[in-house]
Symmetry: C2
Subunit: 235 residues, 2 copies
Amino acid sequence: MTNSKGRLYGIGVGPGDPELLTLKAYRLLKSASVVAYQSADDRPSVARSIVASYLNDRQIEVPFHFPRALDPYQAKPLYDKAVIPIADHLAAGHDVVVLCEGDPLFYGSFMYLFTRFAHQYETEVVPGVSSPMACASAIGIPLSYRNDIFSVLPATLSSEVLATQLVNADAAAIIKLSRHFAKVRDVLQKLGLMTRARYIERATMAEQRIVALDEVDADRVPYFSMILVPSNVQL
Amino acid sequence: MTNSKGRLYGIGVGPGDPELLTLKAYRLLKSASVVAYQSADDRPSVARSIVASYLNDRQIEVPFHFPRALDPYQAKPLYDKAVIPIADHLAAGHDVVVLCEGDPLFYGSFMYLFTRFAHQYETEVVPGVSSPMACASAIGIPLSYRNDIFSVLPATLSSEVLATQLVNADAAAIIKLSRHFAKVRDVLQKLGLMTRARYIERATMAEQRIVALDEVDADRVPYFSMILVPSNVQL
């Protein structure tokens, strides 16, 4: 009797440019019979749109959605429910390739699948190009080097914590800006980082936009945006 | 008259597995006539070994070497000299593809080329899969999520700074371990992080090795090794 369980693949599809998939992610995607991705009811999946030209009609697509929840206790049963369509395919012996923006295990929702399935099903994760590196390449600035401390800071942090973290790091990427942008810009201004810091939207996507920090409209900052504070060392 | 200047490409070749090159890096590499890479006199280039099966006999290979230097003032003239072979090709109108382990602008020596050439020559950087993400995938642990603070910490830092940084981050990658391993392990022990932290050597390479932290021989820790302290959140 052969093992009838499906395998789970979490593949990083990178920051947006379809050519930034790895050869391995591309190979697994092209040969996949079931392709799953996060998709809210009201908008198309970004991960799917990145690889749209690589998909074919014979592939079964499984959108799933992790709804917003106020706290982990609320979220857990909702997430358990959200993964049922994927569980069904795995239990039926189908391999499932899950598309993950950027890298699957770095600020990615793939972890909610990983923690639920990795102990039951053979699971392989294919790392992807992550957005801080993609943003640095797109802007054209060395981000960190030698003995730098580099930190990824969510813009949801308080001004005080953001300031302390920025002072204690040599380089940083500030993520999840959206409605927190104005607060972050204030912090950068107070720390004298306005000329060093750089802002970018939708790096490597067709709609990529690089704007001076003081020209950003704080009311129109998309989720796919980032501020990089590159290292100050020069050599 | 056409522009006779060559173009400079810095391409991330990822952490080690040749299949973790991006489609874009692969395309540029296959069509390159001049391929440059760091190579110390006494050992083969890791970046070249990653892509060896993609190279062909018609390509001109240009090894270069940034020697160790005690401080930036010593290093600058040495680095200026090291890049001359690449400058010669660019000036002669040849495009040059530079191989970079991991990502070119994230703790990579490509920055020394970037800062010297990007103002003179058209320069394009292709981001790559970086080692913290590759290590997380290889070990099989979600690294960071939601509103985590994630920090990359060089093991060259003092015990005090390492401890403070680890306390102030939700997740971390400790790089450049080599002869600093014992110091780092002591810090992790004092912080009660020995069971959470994970050690890995040569992630995604054929010689990949995952060892329990307390079983690592501190005298035999290679440069291509890392300790990950993954986020503690579960959902």
